[in-house]
């Protein structure tokens, strides 16, 4: 900021007497009389105030069994370090590629790594979060085939459905739900097949789905999809041990990347990961990084296919995306690079194993506690006989968890009444599970 003597020199150069006249172009009646906020404070006072407010959060003392879209997983210190590098965090979208090769190469590596993880052809350089990613995928499917029926599983959370509906406001499309099997929790393929017609634009499959179930039937949807595009929403950690979307006919793959080295941050910033078949690349939303050369033939990276984007195509753009989640993409790339294939595989298996342990701990009390038979990944649905006592018992035992199905999917909770989710990750220890079992025993 210029000093006082600088200011007077600058005003002289500009040809003004006072700084106030800089605003002379604003009509007087539009001038704000007063900005009714406190005056500035020192950094020390600010930090004190922030610490005091942070102290009003009380979750820290609780054992965590919350999940359902946001997961408490290990974040290697190196990941936080890498995304805190000021050259990365304080840079803008790489409009000048020659001074931005670091971020551009990182994003190219991100796109590549995600393609390897999902076995999809192309990955863009990120979407806002998983849910807006699904919504953009639905729009993209409509651009590809012009059809209008959108099939989603009845396990899809209401909050996610609401985001998709928001994004479909300007389209002629209609959403229809298909059923899951009440015992296994798998897609009811017969029901789904009966709903697929010539006007079906896309079919969304989840794996694991909204009941927490790893669903083998997702691999059979390609046989009944007809002209529709298949969109998958998968947990990226699960792909350490579970078949990737590219292997079962998925056209657009979406994942929520928060699990990949990104802190939960009370729900954001997260990371939307979008991949698709290469024939759809020109219909796709978002920024994409490509490899090319400089004028001396040296390898270089650059934002490409920008003619799809808003700053060039304006109202004809494939999406309005400008800012994305580049730094979060870098976090997920660092994370995957640090833990490697073996690490991701272990995380997937530990998550399944902990889900099994939790289920076992419940079966000791009630064999009907978990209402679906399919293998669970992270989110474990629990049927509770005394729902009114649940919150109390959890609080007494200092446990966070028990997201009600009625909050996530109101309609489905009619089929699975008094069902609450308890979620595990690699952080969940045996002693946590023991404490959980004790807390829940009294309400099962």
């Amino acid at each position: 900021m210029p000093s006082e003597s600088d200011v007077s020199e600058m005003l002289k150069e500009i040809g003004l007497d006072t700084v106030d006249s800089l605003y002379s172009g604003i009509p007087g009646k539009l001038r704000k009389q007063q900005l009714d906020l406190d005056h500035h404070i020192s950094e020390y006072e600010l930090i004190k105030r922030a610490e005091s407010i942070a102290g009003e959060n009380r979750w820290n003392n609780y054992i965590n069994f919350l999940g359902c879209g946001s997961y408490d997983r290990i974040v290697p210190a190196s990941v936080d370090h890498i995304i805190s590098r000021s050259e990365f965090i304080t840079s803008y979208t790489p409009y000048q590629p020659e001074v931005s090769q670091g971020m551009l190469q990182s994003l190219f590596e991100y796109q590549s790594t995600i393609c390897d993880l999902t076995e999809m052809d192309v990955t863009n350089s990120s979407m806002y979060d998983g849910v807006t990613g699904i919504a953009e995928a639905v729009r993209m499917a409509h651009r590809v085939n012009g059809k209008s029926k959108v099939l989603v599983p009845e396990t899809l959370y209401d909050s996610r459905l609401a985001v998709i509906e928001s994004y479909m406001e300007g389209l002629p499309s209609k959403i229809e739900k298909y059923r899951i099997n009440r015992e296994t929790g798998y897609i009811d393929l017969e029901d789904l097949a009966s709903r697929v017609d010539n006007n079906t634009s896309c079919i969304l499959v989840e794996n694991p789905n909204g009941m927490g179930v790893l669903d083998p039937n997702v691999t059979k949807v390609q046989e009944i999809k007809k002209g529709a595009l298949m969109i998958s929403f998968t947990d990226p950690i699960s792909l350490g041990a579970v078949k990737p979307p590219g292997s079962y006919g998925v056209d657009i793959s979406i994942m929520e990347g928060q699990s990949l080295g990104i802190h939960q941050n009370f729900g954001g910033p997260f990371l939307g990961i979008m991949s698709f078949r290469k024939e759809y690349v020109r219909k796709s939303p978002g920024r994409i990084i490509g490899q090319t050369q400089d004028h001396n033939g040296k390898r270089a990276f650059v934002m490409t296919l920008q003619t799809r984007e808003q700053h060039i195509r304006r109202e004809k753009a494939t999406s309005n995306i400008c800012s994305n989640q580049a730094l979060m993409a870098l976090a997920s790339l660092s994370y995957l690079s640090i833990i490697g294939s073996g690490g991701l595989r272990k995380l997937a298996l530990v998550t399944i194993n902990n889900s099994i342990k939790l289920k076992k701990a419940l079966s000791a009390v009630s064999t009907k506690a978990v209402p679906v038979s399919g293998t669970l990944f992270s989110d474990v649905p629990v049927h509770v006989r005394k729902p009114n006592d649940l919150a109390d018992s959890l609080r007494k035992n200092m446990i966070q968890g028990g997201v009600p199905l009625s909050l996530l999917s109101r309609e489905l909770s009619g089929e699975f009444p008094d069902t609450f989710f308890f979620s595990v990750t690699e952080k969940t220890g045996q002693s946590d599970i023991d404490k959980f079992a004790k807390a829940i025993e009294v309400v099962l």
Binding site: E98, E169, N265, F266, S323, A326, L336, N354
Partner: protein, 478 residues
């Protein structure tokens, strides 16, 4: 010029096999056999690199990346101001950073208080009545705002005929793109000779089909739309709504406001005006604010305060629903809260004033060297044209790269030929402003063959963007 960016022949991480070293806890038990056979994965090929090599790889890559912490970055329309480190520090408090969005509200009162206070700050700054923090970027805020326009007319039974949204020809590309995404037809109004909206042309465009007008003020030419009061009346008389694109809020914070100008819906770019880092493209954050009569249409939930504490309110009569997973980019909201709390009313007003002063100083220093179209008085940014110099904006931009400073935005707005858009912000010294102006002047005078050699101080020379789009190579598989 003695600047050199680091230059490594950095391999792709895939080619750096040094063996994973990071250890993870937990037992896998019989998990493998619990996976249904059809779903078992046989092969996975992630990079297998030691943690120390991963850190070295990305540290080397970071050194081939320019950021605000390295120097002046006056990218027009992007408000690349210094990102205060206290905001990063606060956002990394474990109690904030690791909190779960579905925690019982009684356990996250601190988070809710931050959100509530930020809502209140933004209300006061914009002179609007209600705020939603949910949108995750500026364009996402625009889209949410236009959904509100839709819902508003749906409720009044006028949506069938209100099919058009008007934007100025100088608008950000996101404006028409967001309007189209929400299902509206886009009409463009030309700018007049002084660079502001041609009010007479606008009058002819506004009909019973008009749903809304999207505009930023000051506009993308850095000029205050002094007719904004009259423009607001034109739309309001026809029953249409006024949308304020807050990308240029840094010009006016505390001095005027969209509420005073007559706007109905506003979005903020926290990553611009409120100094949160851009992260190489994101995350951003794009809260929106509305007038009282539109509050019922906001996305849910809002944070409210009562005698028992802070709580989410999901009960809005005609809400557009949800536009993202949870409540917004909380990690970014925290930083913006910190910036506003730290700066206070006096600091915020001074920041805007200084940004405007810096812009006009650049304008004064460069006039005579570049053509500066439209009105003389600029706000937070200015648009030059290099047409008069016989040099291309792109060539001058590449020349500046070799100075260790960042070039302006080039070729936007589209209505000025060979445009160079400069937004200095308030976080720059006069010394750096002078250096930058000298550079621009010497760039305009440099010989064409000399200009075309630049950049030479970067790890790569000029990049073949045409090849990138023609021979698509979008991942390392080819």
């Amino acid at each position: 010029m003695s600047y050199r960016q680091a230059s490594y022949d950095e391999p792709l991480i895939r080619d750096m096999e040094s063996g994973t070293t990071y250890e993870l806890p937990g037992e896998t038990g019989d998990a493998q056999s619990a996976i249904p056979e059809e779903l078992r994965r046989d092969e996975l090929r992630l990079p297998g690199v030691a943690e120390y090599d991963v850190v070295r790889h990305f540290t080397r890559l970071s050194q081939m990346n320019y950021g605000v912490d390295l120097g002046f970055y006056p990218l027009g329309s992007c408000t690349m101001k210094f990102n205060p480190k206290y905001a990063d520090a606060i956002s990394s408090f474990e109690s904030f950073r690791d909190s779960h969005p579905l925690s019982d509200q009684s356990l996250v009162q601190g988070n809710l208080r931050i959100m509530y206070e930020l809502q209140e700050y933004l209300r006061e700054i914009s002179d609007m009545d209600a705020v939603s923090l949910q949108p995750l970027a500026g364009a996402h805020g625009e889209f949410t705002g236009i959904l509100i326009v839709r819902k508003y007319f749906e409720k009044s039974g006028e949506l069938d005929r209100r099919t058009e949204i008007i934007v100025p020809d100088s608008a950000h590309g996101t404006n028409p793109a967001s309007a189209a995404m929400a299902g509206f037809d886009v009409r463009e109004v030309p700018s007049g000779d002084d660079g502001t909206v041609d009010v007479e042309a606008l009058r002819k465009l506004v009909t019973e089909k008009t749903a809304a007008f999207m505009i930023t003020n000051p506009n993308t030419l850095g000029i205050f739309e002094h007719n904004i009061g009259e423009i607001a009346s034109i739309f309001h008389e026809k029953g249409a709504l006024l949308y304020y694109d807050g990308a240029n809020f840094n010009a006016i914070l505390g001095h005027t406001s969209p509420g005073l100008m007559g706007f109905d819906i506003v979005h903020f770019n926290l990553h611009k005006t409120f100094a949160t880092p851009h992260g190489g493209g994101g995350p951003g954050s794009g809260p929106i604010a509305v007038k009282e009569r539109l509050k019922e249409f906001l996305p849910v939930p809002l944070v409210e305060k009562s005698s028992t504490g802070y709580a989410f309110n999901y009960d809005l009569k005609s809400s557009v629903g949800k536009v993202s997973s949870f409540y917004g980019a909380f990690g970014v909201l925290l930083r913006a809260w910190a910036y506003i709390t730290k700066n206070g009313s006096d600091g915020l007003m001074k920041n805007s004033l200084t940004a405007v002063l810096n812009t006009n100083y650049i304008r004064a220093r460069l006039s005579g060297h570049y053509s500066i179209p439209f009105k003389k008085e600029k706000m937070h940014e200015l648009v030059l044209s290099s047409s008069n110099t016989g040099r291309k904006a792109l060539d001058i931009a590449k020349y500046i790269l070799d100075s260790g400073m960042h070039p302006p935005t080039v070729y936007f707005p589209l209505i000025v030929r060979e445009s160079m858009m400069i937004e200095p912000t308030e976080t720059v010294s006069k010394h750096d402003l002078d250096t930058y102006c000298d550079l621009l002047i010497s760039g305009a005078r440099a010989g064409q063959p000399e200009l075309e050699k630049h950049p030479v101080s970067t790890p790569v020379s000029r990049i073949d963007e045409v090849r990138a789009a023609r021979d698509l190579k979008l991942n390392w598989r080819g």
